[in-house]
């Protein structure tokens, strides 16, 4: 089955990213396809390349790299990102910046869209 993922809450401050990460890994292990993760509202902060959590803390940047290495597209909303300082200067290599059309595409193309 094809899944689309929408994350809306900021990483670290909320558990949404962590839950989505574990959900996506489980879905892939079960043979499902993740056609993309769209980061909107405060969730765009997960795409920042400067994240430096202390040792032993959750490492959102390495989670993003892990998802990317599993072939998952990580799309940060350009408009939500710009006002929050997420631009070509600050976006991590794993993530790409694109428009809300990508969220619409996930809504249309996925069999299930799940919001975190």
């Amino acid at each position: 089955m094809k899944f689309g993922i929408l994350i809306k809450e900021s990483p670290y401050n909320f558990q949404a990213f962590d839950t989505a990460y574990n959900f996506v890994k489980a879905a892939i292990e079960m043979g499902h396809e993740i056609i993309g993760i769209f980061f909107y509202d405060d969730a765009v902060y997960a795409g920042n390349k400067y994240l430096e959590p202390p040792q032993g803390d959750r490492n959102i940047k390495s989670y993003m790299d892990d998802l990317k290495s599993r072939g998952v597209r990580l799309v940060v909303c350009v408009a939500a990102g710009k006002r929050r300082g997420l631009t070509q200067d600050t976006v991590s290599e794993s993530a790409e910046i694109s428009g809300l059309g990508q969220l619409l595409e996930l809504s249309i193309e996925s069999d299930r869209l799940v919001t975190f």
Binding site: L6, Y40, A80, L100, G101, L104, I108
Partner: protein, 125 residues
């Protein structure tokens, strides 16, 4: 005109009050973008979301843009097919239909549940 059945039915479920959070502002940005792709886009206001339709908003004193104006043109200028507002949510908040800034379809909760049931995707904001 396209066959209605080929369009994805997508509902924005607006359940947050305006200004205290950004959700109303960013959901409007999403509505405008979605509506340009000729899908079947619905918008439902429930809970505190009904406050987004209150008339007479003037956020100039808090230096925020008056996003509510966008609702006036969503159906006419954009391809949003329906704006629903829930009767029960209005009642709980002491609001009447004449308190709203534009004409929307006021639905009973039971009818809104049926609408939600028809959707392919529901996006909560």
């Amino acid at each position: 005109m396209e066959d209605q059945k080929s369009k994805a039915k997508i509902m924005f479920l607006c359940k947050t009050a305006p200004y205290g959070t950004i959700y109303e502002q960013e959901v409007i940005e999403a509505m405008i973008m979605f509506s340009s792709y000729e899908q079947d886009i619905r918008v439902a206001f429930i809970g505190d979301g009904v406050f987004s339709l209150k008339k007479g908003q003037n956020p100039s004193l808090i230096n925020i843009k008056n996003f509510a104006q966008t609702y006036l043109v969503l159906i006419d200028d954009f391809e949003v097919s329906h704006l629903y507002v829930e009767k029960e949510s209005l009642d709980e908040r002491g609001m009447k239909e004449e308190d709203l800034l534009t004409e929307v379809e006021v639905l009973q909760r039971a009818d809104l549940i049926s609408k939600i049931d028809e959707m392919k995707v529901v996006l909560p904001f």
